[in-house]
Symmetry: C2
Subunit: 159 residues, 2 copies
Amino acid sequence: MIYTIEPIGEIITAFKNKAGMPIQSNGAKGIKGQIVLKEAFVEGLKDLDGFSHIIVIYRFHKSQSFEMLTTPFLDTKKRGLFATRAPNRPNCIGLSVVRLVSIEGNVLNIENVDMLDGTPLLDIKPYIPAFDVHEAERVGWTEERTNELPEVKSDSRFE
Amino acid sequence: MIYTIEPIGEIITAFKNKAGMPIQSNGAKGIKGQIVLKEAFVEGLKDLDGFSHIIVIYRFHKSQSFEMLTTPFLDTKKRGLFATRAPNRPNCIGLSVVRLVSIEGNVLNIENVDMLDGTPLLDIKPYIPAFDVHEAERVGWTEERTNELPEVKSDSRFE
């Protein structure tokens, strides 16, 4: 079975290229962007302004291929693709939780933006800690690396 | 632009119908299931066993349509679709964080399962609190409802 998906909007950011981008929204604090939703979906934004954070699901639209082993930004060793957040992956689905600053018509002003400019938007969901926070005892190869998050930026390895 | 996506595996659970299902993985503690990955992707599982929790992205394959306003399980009022986690939504992309118990070849044994049996798998990512936990000050209409999560089950409203 093959499914089709169609963007419901577009994400506008200052990042024209992967090199130099933050690698996660928690490494992008205060960086502003916008989501421009197609007009047909604006009614679905009702009540969303009550949430301080939203889950944004999007297409890694510059990803063309993937390899089963890949070297993530926070490491120097090849890791299994599904043990990384690399953008080059099957189905090219990206996931970021961003701060929702305001909604004006079909435009959402957001912060903590780690997406490329022009990223196709696939879905928006409310971020709800009671649903979305989980007590993870083990974080694999990232254990001693995540404190580097604010400093580490993307490079061109996934171009 | 329209994209195609193709499942990389399937999720096996005890839930044959939506009615009676847990509505979130945090309302499904201890409920077991399996992810069966297509053989072509098994190499990508390397290093994943170091993580206690994984993000599972999948197709809400029983969703056929959506409405811009919908009444979520934890409420009695219609809310904007993007302010809910309802399965009937554009692009039908579902997201659950589950506990990874073990990996045997192309089979991942998981817990905290809130998906239908036969759900098409689109992606697996490691759950990393440093990336995935955000301090949300406001949770909109859900504020006084999320304590009901363990008791509330799905019904047939989204069939």
